[in-house]
Amino acid sequence: MPVLRCFRACANLRSLTGFRPGGRSARKGTFVILSEADTLLAPVTEIDGFVLAGLVDVSTGMVLASRQVADEMSLPAVAAGAADIAHVLSLLGGQLAADEALEDVMVTFGRHFHVIYPVSPDPDARIVLLVVLDRSRTNLAMARRDIRSFCTNFVS
């Protein structure tokens, strides 16, 4: 299915979000509404180079569930960035009026990949899976396959 597949942000996200790196740091807290979230996201944590994962409701920007192996980055900020990207792409999709849905988004930073994947094939279900991976330890093709497989199992 020809879809918008790769949104490579080798440039920074500042222009997109207005984020100021020197600003006040984000809160560490996360929001989890499903008590079994840890179990649900367990398969994603087995991907080589896994740093963090979260299920984010794009319609409200709320983090529904999350897992993080190291405290090296702020999950709320990263999840909010994923929701912002999905929000901007939804506006773009609306303007293009293309009869196709977003398949995934990959953002490449110096040391990390951020992969955003809608968990439901239904474009109206606005929940995405965000996975942050360490570039030095990740095979991106394998990781994408694992994420796609996780999302398929998640809805079936």
Partner: protein, 272 residues
């Protein structure tokens, strides 16, 4: 003689002589009360009255349900739907979300409308006992985040802004998602995001965001603009909503009122 109430003057004086202490606003008072109930592992109901009636229900210190007369309540059938329901992980997640979203929506409304809380009523069994509870700190963090997003949107649209369909489109073709289409076809004279949320039984916050997206796509226009401080006319479509800014700029405090004040950021065109 000052026209300020004595209590407000006292708070101003406190703030002026004790600079390190923030004056206690309504949001902080409610947040402190909720934290106290969480610490003591309370089960029961905290009723609210005044600008917006409602209640927050606790079970063992967690919030299991919140209701406001200004936001739609969860369906009765969803009250037991939470994490224990059978089905795929996705259906369990959406079931939990169906309970949590109205609760968060109502809490935002109760804290923003400066409703007064009354005496906590303890109970042995909380309402909707089968639904998963939300930790008070998590809830307050999410409420504060939503309040900051509403502050960002305030110059363009609020939950009570009257919107109308735009009959003239610049784009030759445009696409919308089903939830947005459901809003578009229901817009009549005098429609507001809050009224549409009630009609569709969705969250007021989520509906306001969707209306903002439709405004950004120029499918809608706001017909009841909120005047800006200083008497300037609002410039619709010139504010970018950012979840990142709402998280990064926040200090976690819950504020009183949706804060229709001037946002503390520069405006950027949203045209895509």
């Amino acid at each position: 003689m000052s026209q300020l109430p004595r209590f407000s003057r006292a708070r101003q004086l406190t703030a002026s002589v004790w600079s390190g202490k923030a004056p206690d606003d309504h949001g902080s008072l409610v947040a402190a009360r909720l934290r106290k109930l969480a610490e003591t592992g309370s089960t029961g109901t905290l009723p609210f009255s005044g600008a917006g009636d409602g209640a927050i229900h606790f079970r063992d210190g967690d919030v299991v349900l919140a209701r406001s007369t200004r936001t739609p309540s969860p369906d009765g059938t969803n009250g037991t739907g939470g994490a224990g329901a059978a089905g795929t992980p996705f259906t369990r997640l959406t079931a939990a979300l169906a309970v949590a979203e109205p609760t968060i929506d109502a809490t935002v409304e109760l804290l923003s409308s400066e409703a007064r809380f009354a005496k906590f009523r303890s109970a042995k069994a909380a309402v909707s006992a089968a639904s998963p509870g939300i930790g008070v700190e998590d809830l307050l963090t999410e409420v504060a985040r939503r309040q900051r997003i509403l502050q960002q949107l305030a110059p363009v649209v609020t939950a009570d802004t009257v919107v109308a369909r735009n009959p003239h489109l610049n784009a030759p073709d445009i696409g919308v998602l089903a939830p947005q289409w459901a809003l578009l076809i229901r817009i009549r004279d005098g429609s507001t995001p809050r009224a549409l949320a009630w009609e569709l039984n969705r969250s007021v916050f989520g509906t306001t965001l969707e209306i903002y997206r439709l405004l950004a796509l120029r499918l809608l226009s706001a017909t009841s603009p909120r005047p800006r401080p200083g008497g300037q006319e609002p410039r619709f479509g010139l504010v970018t909503m950012s979840y990142v800014r709402a998280v990064v700029a926040g200090n976690g405090s819950v504020t009183a009122g949706p804060a229709y004040s001037e946002p503390a950021y520069s405006e950027v065109a949203t045209d895509v």
